[in-house]
């Protein structure tokens, strides 16, 4: 079965603290994984995808096939990072299978 699990509904950190949003997946084959961000009920925006191995807004994510994980990390959280974050797995029809999301709250 293709599935994405985000175990934390809410993650609260202070400004300047490190952040790690967890994502685990279930997929047979080579997965293509993404992180999307949604600010204040706006449209979802692609944050990053594993094949590009880029860093956007200071966030990085590494695919760990052994642990079937794709955790999102940032060394120093900023208040403007407060948002909903969704991990997603590309399905066989090009659709995305989403996790339930993690709400990140960065406190001043």
């Amino acid at each position: 079965a293709q599935r994405v699990t985000q175990p934390e509904k809410l993650l609260s950190v202070f400004k300047g603290a490190p952040v790690e949003l967890k994502c685990n997946y279930s997929y047979s084959g080579s997965p293509e994984l993404f992180w999307y961000v949604q600010y204040s009920r706006q449209r979802l925006q692609l944050l990053l995808r594993h094949i590009s191995r880029e860093s956007i807004k200071g966030f990085t994510a590494d695919l760990n096939k052994g642990e079937t994980s794709f955790h999102l990390k940032k060394p120093f959280a900023q208040e403007e990072d407060s948002a909903m974050y969704y991990c997603a797995l590309q399905g066989s029809q090009g659709n995305l299978i989403f996790g339930k999301g993690t709400k990140l709250s960065v406190k001043p």
Partner: protein
């Protein structure tokens, strides 16, 4: 906004009435998707289309139908709206050089 718009942005309707949501794209992309977003569930795929008149069901298709009579428009219809269909509906298109998904701004639907 990647050339994707949804209408209406907000709608309030009564149980039992039919409702149609529209997704319009200007990019001529082949693939279009309808998702619903609910707290505690994330986004779930309702239906998708891979071309004109080519559609298929997603994870939560019961109570919904879709139509795609032309490339630019993908319509989502609630045959007889129920309170459980109160949600935020997002349309997405797949395109660009790297075939990313781009999302519309969403439609907030309330079924009373």
């Amino acid at each position: 906004d990647a050339g994707i718009t949804q209408s209406p942005r907000h709608k309030v309707t009564e149980t039992g009435t039919p409702v149609t949501l529209r997704c319009h794209q200007t990019e001529n992309h082949r693939y279009m998707y309808w998702y619903r977003q609910d707290p505690g569930h994330g986004l779930r795929l309702i239906h998708y289309s891979y071309g004109v008149k080519d559609t298929d069901k997603g994870e939560v298709s019961d109570g919904y139908s879709v139509s795609r009579s032309k490339t630019e428009d993908f319509l989502l219809t609630l045959e007889s709206a129920t309170s459980s269909q109160t949600s935020v509906y997002f349309c997405a298109i797949r395109g660009g050089v790297d075939e990313k998904l781009f999302f519309g701004s969403g439609t907030q639907l309330s079924v009373l």
